[in-house]
């Protein structure tokens, strides 16, 4: 919590004004619904304007649900430690953290992935990116 407060203070002091990279987070995803999933990668869609990972995840009853996980475009990932067809491959078991779609569909804005070897990488921007930000006085 202390860190979040520090970040907020930093943003205010430095006058940082978040703006949309491509689209708004909050139109479809809910910052109040964080989700952590572990599953098997079934597809990697390395395309613009958003890369998507597809993940088979077993729910509490043992039923397998295929999740769609949205993140940065390939260029951004390529500059931050990801390599197409190498970093994540179909069949890999990974854990991810993100925020769920508002409509309850098995879809999430993926912020961070933990790979099979334990390496952690960001896959998308923070919650709230691009949805307007503070307006009054700005």
């Amino acid at each position: 919590m202390r860190r979040i407060v520090q970040l907020a203070a930093t943003l205010i002091l430095a006058g940082i004004a978040p703006a949309a990279a491509h689209h708004s987070f909050g139109v479809y995803f809910d910052a109040e619904k964080p989700v952590t999933l572990t599953g098997v990668v079934t597809k990697v869609d390395w395309r613009n304007p958003h890369t998507h990972l597809y993940l088979d995840v077993k729910d509490a009853s043992g039923k397998v649900v295929n999740w769609t996980l949205e993140g940065y475009p390939p260029n951004v990932l390529s500059r931050t430690g990801w390599k197409k067809d190498v970093t994540v491959k179909v069949g890999d078991t990974i854990s991810v953290f993100g925020w769920r779609a508002r409509d309850g569909a098995p879809m999430a804005h993926l912020r961070e992935a933990t790979l099979a070897d334990g390496k952690r990488l960001f896959f998308g921007p923070p919650a709230g990116t691009g949805e307007g930000g503070p307006v009054a006085g700005r």
Binding site: R3, L7, L11, N48
Partner: protein
């Protein structure tokens, strides 16, 4: 953290005159600004909007808690690092900004992959920009939306240009600063902070390569149809010699228009509720 504090102190002490920049220790001695054959500063290079000097791309990395960046990577690797004065909205524009906030920017033209004016494009730190500079021309290549501006130096504005999303640009020198005058915009572009510009948008950009690694960007934004007076926005651009531009084909698999059409049938699913 000390570097961050220093940057913030500098920013505050200078009254917002420049974006806080990290101390030089990270990349060694400051190198002089490169020069063109005519003696003017050479702006050529690949840059990232960032407060951090150094050859490598500046990006957040995970910290201890899920989704939170490591503290050292927080300050300068956000999506947008612009520092700007308060936007002096006219009342109708202020209301529109509030509507944009309430609707979580669902109407943003960027969601349709439309390039936007430079005050919005320049501070986005996720994508590099390449400057190609000769004595007669500056070409700025933006990976973001895979767009470009070809800016003649010492020329007059085109008299036969139709209004466009990124406007018509011409440049002149003011000492060591290249000043770019931009006019002739299509109405309706978004500049961030809820500001939707009109066709009267007029930008005066100032590009100052203060040394080899750092270029200061300052833009005076005027739009009498939506603002009561001009205001200024600033950010720093840092040279990233190890970076190249890659294709950003935003329309390749853009799912937003179809999804938004569905969601807008009932906007109550996503609009902000009064607290």
């Amino acid at each position: 953290m000390r570097r961050l504090v220093l940057g913030l102190v500098l920013t505050t002490a200078l009254g917002g005159a420049r974006v806080g920049v990290e101390a030089q220790s990270q990349s060694g001695a400051i190198q002089p600004t490169p020069r063109l054959a005519d003696g003017k500063p050479d702006l050529t290079g690949v840059y990232q909007a960032s407060n951090r000097r150094g050859r490598d791309w500046d990006a957040q990395v995970p910290g201890d808690a899920p989704g939170q960046p490591a503290r050292a990577t927080q300050p300068s690797a956000g999506v947008n690092i612009a520092q700007r004065d308060p936007i002096p909205f006219r009342p109708e524009a202020q209301q529109r900004a509030q509507d944009i906030l309430n609707r979580r920017s669902v109407d943003d033209p960027a969601a349709h992959c439309v390039p936007q004016a430079s005050p919005r494009m320049t501070p986005v730190s996720l994508f590099p920009m390449e400057f190609v500079h000769t004595p007669k021309k500056l070409v700025i290549l933006y990976e973001y939306f895979w767009s470009f501006r070809s800016i003649p130096i010492g020329a007059a504005h085109a008299d036969d240009a139709d209004p466009s999303f990124v406007g018509d640009s011409v440049a002149r020198w003011d000492g060591n600063t290249l000043v770019v005058d931009v006019t002739n915009f299509k109405a309706g572009g978004w500049l961030g902070g809820g500001l939707v510009h009109s066709d009267a948008l007029h930008l005066v950009e100032r590009y100052t390569r203060v040394d080899r690694d750092q270029m200061n960007y300052e833009v005076l934004i005027d739009d009498p149809k939506v603002l009561t007076k001009p205001f200024t926005q600033r950010n720093t651009l840092m040279l990233r010699e190890g970076t190249r531009l890659r294709e950003y084909s935003c329309l390749e698999n853009n799912m937003d228009p179809k999804l938004y059409e569905k969601l807008l049938v009932d906007p109550s699913t996503f609009i902000r509720k009064p607290k």
